[in-house]
Symmetry: C2
Subunit: 115 residues, 2 copies
């Protein structure tokens, strides 16, 4: 055992677990972009898909289902006059804005730093 | 063209790009955990590896190199009395705390919401 080894405090491991949990719910390439698209007013499946460069319909479907399970998105089916499916952000999804906002801010600053 | 289609504003596309940039620099399973480990005082390669459950030495090495390029981490080599390599967070890495802090906070709240 190395004398210089500093074990993580219980809290740090808890923090790691929390970051992992958040990455599990929000991670990957697409979920935050879907949230931005919905926030910008897109509601229908193909509208959302068209607004996100590079996403496949299959991936969008998978991501929306996971986001629904996590109460970030609501899927509403209208049947009159025709069947219409819409996705909207939940009020709860607003708890994500500190994360999304911080990421947007950070990227802009980082560009200046590494250029 | 669907009449209901709401095109993204230029700003929303810019925001998507920013989120993508941040995910590119910080994304994946490990980088934020490495930051938490370093912040908790771990400096040497094997200490860092031991503090993060499941990371391989090869992955840690790859991630640390990328983080060095992004000025988040500094690698210092001491040669006296023996060769010793240490990693520390840069002052600049502190700009990440709003993101990491928001993620830690969000996970704790989310657990209550979905249980």
């Amino acid at each position: 055992m190395n004398d210089n080894f500093v074990p993580l405090s219980k809290d740090c491991l808890t923090d790691m677990k929390s970051v992992q949990d958040t990455l599990y719910v929000l991670g990957g390439k697409w979920k935050m972009l879907i949230i931005l698209s919905l926030r910008n007013g897109n509601r229908r499946y193909r509208e959302i898909a068209r607004s996100i460069p590079g996403i496949s319909l299959r991936m969008l479907s998978k991501e929306l289902k996971e986001m629904e399970l996590n109460k970030l998105v609501v899927r509403t089916v209208y049947t009159d006059p025709v069947v219409l499916v819409e996705y909207t952000l939940t009020e709860y999804s607003e708890t994500l804005w500190p994360i999304v906002g911080a990421m947007i801010h950070w990227a802009k600053n980082h560009k200046q730093v590494i250029r």
